[in-house]
């Protein structure tokens, strides 16, 4: 599995308008919905599930990165999107620092292995400081897609 296998390109958010955790998650879930990944009726339930998971412990893992996620039966395969905040957003991260790069994942109920492999893949990309720096500097969807493609050769 590679990041481009599950990141929905049309749903990438290059410039988050959000200023808080709920706003980030709402913008990313709405963007996946706009890309046709699930019905509008599922949006609020998905947002609630992701926020509930955040309440149990932030997915802000440090180094300016967060990976909000949930399982939800509105998807038949694991999907994800990427969003960038150039200002940085307080996300209760484990290192207390603001988050600039968000990778949101929604996986089917019964596929924990897919979720773990997606995390592995996200880690392979995000452990590269140059890649994260380039993502943080990107301002368009096309730039982010190009970075993703280049990172996976």
């Amino acid at each position: 599995m590679r990041m481009s296998d599950f990141v929905v390109r049309e749903a990438i958010v290059p410039e988050l308008p959000a200023t808080n955790k709920e706003g980030v998650i709402r913008a990313m879930v709405e963007s996946l919905r706009a890309a046709g990944q699930f019905r509008g009726a599922d949006v609020e339930d998905i947002i609630r599930a992701i926020l509930k998971r955040e309440f149990l412990g932030s997915t802000g893992i440090g180094r300016g990165v967060a990976i909000p996620h949930t399982k939800h039966n509105s998807v038949e395969r694991l999907i994800g999107t990427i969003a960038i905040s150039h200002k940085g957003i307080a996300f209760d991260s484990l290192d207390g620092e603001p988050v600039y790069v968000f990778v949101l994942l929604i996986s089917p109920q019964d596929r924990p292995g897919d979720h773990l492999r997606a995390l592995e893949n996200v880690s392979r990309s995000l452990r590269d400081d140059n890649f994260v720096r380039a993502l943080r500097g990107a301002t368009t969807r096309e730039e982010i897609i190009a970075l993703l493609d280049r990172a996976e050769h």
Binding site: A49, K52, R53, L56, G57, T59, I61, G62, R63, V65, I67, H69, T70, K71, H72, N73, L94, Q109, P112, G113, H115, L116, R117, L119, E120, V122, S123, R124, L126, R127
Partner: protein, 101 residues
């Protein structure tokens, strides 16, 4: 006591595998000790104090991980980390899964 590293194998029993919440708990607990903590799976070895590293393991239920701890508080660290890995999933995780069904 800076002797040979202590090793212990642990099999992941959580049906969700070694996922992000237990990884965060593991990395935070490991970071409280002076000893180095390595976690390996089939020869791939990662830093147990880093969530980003632990994510590389992608350890599903039934996966065998090997903990390797070295340093002045190695035995305490190993005992605490093994206990954490072997503890059942928290109640909220079980109820969370059922809520989402």
């Amino acid at each position: 006591m800076n002797g040979a590293p202590l090793l212990q194998k642990v099999v992941i029993t959580n049906p969700q595998g070694f996922h992000m919440r237990p990884m965060a708990a593991f990395a935070q607990l490991a970071s409280r000790f002076k000893s180095s903590v390595k976690v390996s799976r089939e020869g791939q070895s990662v830093n147990g104090k880093s969530i980003l590293d632990l994510m590389l393991l992608a350890a599903t239920q039934g996966t065998e991980l090997t903990l390797e701890v070295a340093g002045p508080d190695a035995q305490d660290a190993l005992d605490a980390l093994v206990k954490l890995l072997k503890s059942p999933p928290p109640e909220e995780e079980v109820s969370e899964a059922s809520l989402e069904d």
